[in-house]
C-alpha cells in the first residue's frame, strides 16, 4: 500500500523533460503555480492546461501514473468544490430550503477545482521527471547565493534527500508499531479527546525510539562512507545548463506573457 504513494515519486525515462536542468524545472514549477493564481478566466486555464499537457506528452510519463497521484487528493478537491458552490453569495441559480447555489459559486468552485488539479499535476510532473537527488541538488544550487548570508544550503538539501528517502521507511515503521499495539488490544478510536491523545503514547514512544535508532544508524553509515559536510564534495551528475534549458526558459517566459495577456479577456471566459 505504502509502496504506491506517487507523491515525490520518480518515473525513470529518457525524455527532453527529464533531461532539463533541475533548476529550470523547479523555477518553472514555481512560476507555473503563481500563474495559476493569476489566471482570471477559462481561456487562461485552457492555455495553462494546454501547456501542461504538452509538457506531459514530452515527458513520456504515462497519464495513468499522473492521475494516480490525483486519486489521493480527490477528497480535498471534492470538499473545495462543495464549499465554494454552497457558500458563495451572488445571483441565485437554484434554491431549496437552506441550500442555495449561486452563479458566482459555481464559477468559483470550478475555478478552484481546475486550479487545484492543474497545480497538483504540475508539481507531480516535477517530481516524476526529476530524480530526488537532482531535485535537492537543484534546490541547493538555487539557494547557494543565500549561503553567503549564512544559510546552510548544502545541509538543507541533504536533509531533504534523507527526508524523501525515509518517508516510506518511517511509514512502514509506524504501521508496524500501530499493528503491534493493536494486537495487544490497544484501542485508538474510542473515548474522549484526552483518552484518545493518551492512547497514542504506546505508538509515539516506540516510534520516537525507532526514529532515534534509525537516525543513529544512518549517521554511522554516512560517516563510514566518508561524509564530512559539503566541502570538497563532487557529484556524479553535475547540473549543467544546456541549450534545451535555454529553450525551456524562453518558452516559459512566453507562456507567462500569454497568461498575463489572457487576463484582458475578462473575468469568466
Amino acid at each position: 500500500m505504502i509502496r504506491d504513494i506517487t507523491l515525490g515519486q520518480y518515473y525513470p525515462a529518457d525524455s527532453p523533460v527529464h533531461r532539463l536542468d533541475a533548476r529550470v524545472k523547479i523555477t518553472a514549477t514555481m512560476l507555473y503555480i503563481v500563474e495559476l493564481f493569476l489566471v482570471k478566466n477559462f481561456a487562461g486555464f485552457l492555455i495553462a492546461a494546454a501547456a501542461l499537457f504538452a509538457v506531459i506528452a514530452l515527458s513520456r510519463v504515462p497519464l495513468r501514473f499522473i492521475f494516480r497521484g490525483l486519486t489521493a487528493v480527490f477528497l480535498i478537491i471534492f470538499f473545495t468544490l462543495i464549499l465554494n458552490i454552497f457558500l458563495t453569495d451572488g445571483r441565485v441559480l437554484w434554491h431549496w430550503k437552506f441550500i442555495t447555489i449561486t452563479y458566482e459559486g459555481v464559477i468559483r468552485a470550478a475555478f478552484m477545482a481546475i486550479r487545484l488539479v492543474l497545480l497538483i499535476i504540475g508539481s507531480s510532473i516535477l517530481t516524476l521527471t526529476t530524480k530526488p537527488i537532482e531535485l535537492t541538488d537543484g534546490l541547493e544550487k538555487l539557494m547557494s547565493p543565500l549561503s553567503k548570508i549564512g544559510v546552510p544550503s548544502h545541509e538543507i538539501a541533504l536533509m531533504m534527500t534523507i527526508a524523501l528517502r525515509f518517508i516510506p521507511t518511517l511509514m512502514e515503521e509506524t504501521d508496524k508499531i500501530i499493528k503491534a499495539q493493536q494486537a495487544r488490544g490497544a484501542d485508538f478510536e474510542s473515548g474522549n479527546i484526552i483518552q484518545r491523545a493518551k492512547s497514542l503514547i504506546p505508538i509515539l514512544v516506540p516510534l520516537f525510539i525507532s526514529s532515534f535508532r534509525i537516525a543513529q544508524e544512518l549517521a554511522l553509515a554516512m560517516e563510514a562512507r566518508c561524509y564530512h559536510g559539503g566541502k570538497g564534495r563532487t557529484r556524479m551528475n553535475e547540473i549543467h545548463f544546456h541549450r534545451g534549458d535555454a529553450v525551456a526558459a524562453v518558452l516559459l517566459i512566453g507562456f507567462l506573457a500569454v497568461i498575463i495577456a489572457s487576463r484582458q479577456l475578462g473575468s469568466v471566459l
Binding site: 525513470p12 530526488p132 537527488i133 534527500t161 554511522l220 554516512m222 562512507r225 566518508c226 563532487t234
Partner: protein, 275 residues
C-alpha cells in the same frame, strides 16, 4: 606490517548516573591485540554484547580507543587528518539494510561515498556502474531503494562500499535480517569480493558463514577468547560451549556420527562412506 594492527585496544564508554554525572562504565573492549593481513578473510563471532560491533567500529575510526592503538595501512585512527583516508580504505556494511541507504534512487546511493571523497564525476559514474555490476544490481540502478527486497538493499549497501574502492570491507551481521535467498546471495558476493583481493572481516551469528573464513576470532565479554582456523575452533566443543556458540551443521553431523575430524566437507564424507 599487517594491513590492520590492533594493539592493546581498550574501549570504555562513559555511563551517565541518575544525577547527570558521568562515570566510566563497563569495558566494551578490554586489551585486545590482533593483526589483520591484507587479502585475508576473518570472521568474528560471539554472543550479543561481546564487543564484536564495537571492535568493527574501531577499525575505521567510528569509535576511538580509550587506550591502545589501531593502525590501518600504517595510519593511526587517532590521527584526525587521516580519518577519510582510513575510511575510504576500510568500507563497512551494517546489519539493517534500510538504515544505511541515504538516497532514494539506487545509483545515487552508490555514488554517495565517492562523492564524499571528491572523485571526478566521470570516474564516479564508472565506479558506480562497476560496483553495481559486481553485486549484480546494475539492471536495477534506476529503481527506488524502498521497492527492493532486503537482500537487494544489502547488495546496494555493499556496492556503496565497493564504489569507494576500499582495500578492506567490514560486514557487521549483513545477513541477520534476510531470508534464505537473500542470505545466500549476500554470502556469495562477500566470498567473490574476498577472492578478488578485498580484505574481509565478517561479523556473524551463523556458524556456517564463519566456517567459510580463513580464521575465526571468538569474542567474549570484550576480550578475544580465541583466534584460530575454523577447523581447529569447531573441533573444540568445550570452547564452543563456553563462547555460547554452536557447531556448523556439517561439523555437528561429523561429531554426532563419530567420524574422524580430518573429514572437512561433504565430498570427504562421501569418499569415506564409499570406502
Amino acid at each position: 606490517m599487517a594491513f590492520i594492527e590492533i594493539k592493546n585496544l581498550t574501549v570504555q564508554f562513559m555511563k551517565v548516573n541518575e544525577d547527570g554525572s558521568e562515570v566510566p562504565g563497563r569495558k566494551a573492549l578490554d586489551d585486545i591485540s590482533l593483526e589483520i593481513e591484507k587479502g585475508s578473510f576473518a570472521a568474528v563471532v560471539g554472543m550479543n554484547g561481546s564487543g564484536k560491533s564495537t571492535l568493527a567500529k574501531c577499525l575505521n575510526g567510528l569509535i576511538l580507543p580509550t587506550k591502545g592503538d589501531v593502525t590501518v595501512d600504517s595510519m593511526n585512527t587517532r590521527d584526525e587528518s587521516r580519518l577519510w583516508d582510513i575510511r575510504s580504505r576500510v568500507g563497512m556494511v551494517f546489519q539493517n539494510p534500510d538504515n544505511q541507504i541515504v538516497s532514494s534512487i539506487v545509483e545515487d546511493d552508490v555514488a554517495f561515498g565517492p562523492e564524499n571523497l571528491g572523485v571526478e564525476p566521470a570516474e564516479i559514474r564508472r565506479r558506480v556502474d562497476d560496483a553495481l555490476r559486481r553485486v549484480g544490481m546494475y539492471e536495477q540502478r534506476n529503481k527506488g531503494a524502498h521497492m527492493l527486497s532486503g537482500g537487494q538493499k544489502q547488495r546496494i549497501a555493499i556496492a556503496g562500499a565497493v564504489a569507494m574502492r576500499p582495500e578492506c570491507i567490514i560486514f557487521d551481521e549483513p545477513t541477520a535480517m534476510l531470508d534464505p535467498k537473500g542470505r545466500e546471495s549476500v554470502m556469495k558476493i562477500i566470498k567473490e569480493l574476498n577472492s578478488e583481493g578485498i580484505t574481509t572481516i565478517l561479523i556473524t551469528h551463523f556458524m556456517e558463514e564463519a566456517a567459510e573464513a580463513g580464521r575465526v576470532i571468538v569474542m567474549n565479554a570484550g576480550r578475544v577468547l580465541c583466534d584460530r582456523t575454523p577447523a581447529r575452533l569447531f573441533s573444540d566443543t568445550e570452547m564452543i560451549e563456553r563462547a555460547g556458540l554452536e557447531l556448523p551443521p556439517f561439523i555437528e553431523l561429523r561429531e554426532k556420527a563419530g567420524l574422524p575430524s580430518d573429514i572437512t566437507d561433504i565430498e570427504g564424507l562421501a569418499a569415506y562412506m564409499r570406502r
